[in-house]
Point group: C2
Chain length 170, copies 2
């Protein structure tokens, strides 16, 4: 099925001038949800992926389901102060100010081949910081996968490597 028909445009969210891509109709549709997860998983079979990393919060919706289909484990990257164990952090620039993400030091090892997952690729700042974290703890990045790539924002070039998306807006 055409997943685009289940992605809803919401103007001026979260602020004026932004056309937000609302994936909740897609997630709520059993066949669409299954198709989206299967598409990401199928594109990454046979690559020896051992860990799928998801970024809080909407990356958590997609990454564990992909991990299950790949026979891999799931690792969360979270906002500051949420992870209970020894963590390292990485800050990155926003339009105004900075944001920070964290990962458990022991969640990924140098033996791990890692797929990075988030819901939407926009400018790529969050994913770039997430890749830095996984690289710092020793993981080998196999690629990054998204439900949606807002390709006109150029995030794919910024993060580099193998970038996969189920739906691309050009």
């Amino acid at each position: 099925m055409d997943l685009r028909t289940l992605i809803r445009d919401v103007p001026d969210f979260p602020k004026k001038g932004i056309m937000f891509k609302d994936i909740t109709p897609l997630l709520g549709h059993p066949q669409a949800l299954a198709q989206a997860i299967a598409t990401i998983s199928a594109a990454h079979q046979g690559l020896g992926i051992t860990k799928v990393v998801g970024i809080e919060s909407r990356g958590f919706i997609i990454a564990p389901a992909v991990a299950l289909q790949l026979g891999a484990g799931f690792v969360p990257i979270r906002k500051p102060g949420k992870l209970p164990w020894k963590s390292i952090k990485q800050s990155y620039g926003l339009e105004y100010g900075t944001d920070t993400v964290e990962i458990h030091e022991d969640s990924v090892t140098s033996a791990d081949r890692v797929l990075m997952v988030d819901d939407v690729l926009a400018t790529g700042g969050t994913m770039e910081a997430a890749i830095t974290l996984v690289t710092k703890v020793g993981g080998q990045i196999v690629g990054s996968a998204f439900l949606i790539d807002l390709a006109f924002l150029g995030g794919g070039k910024r993060i580099g490597g193998k970038v996969f998306s189920v739906v691309t807006y050009t």
Copy 2:
């Protein structure tokens, strides 16, 4: 396998006197992750569940994977201001102050049979508010499922109905 061996006790997190149950070792272990999701799904097969609702953030890790195995859709309940479409909200009491959760008005209908999912059942305040939201938009609650039930806190009695957990601490 015994999933308890992959749940890590972290003392004094997020504040002094709390023994936090860290599920990240379990989530990162492929067989344990698969077993946890399969256990929740198997317990809710054949009940006609059409939507699995997960509560931000850690409920997002579990609920969509369960939804896939049940052939259902996934619906998020989020913190205030995160959902882009028309939403309703519900506040609930914490030890100090209150917190609020929101759901999209159109995410669940009166035709939906709903399984509520979160990672940990503690006092049950968040899940109680989430159940109120789903009931307000018309959904029929089939039950609630958790990876961990801290049964000594009595959350199961508070939320009522059918409560399932993979691991229970008494």
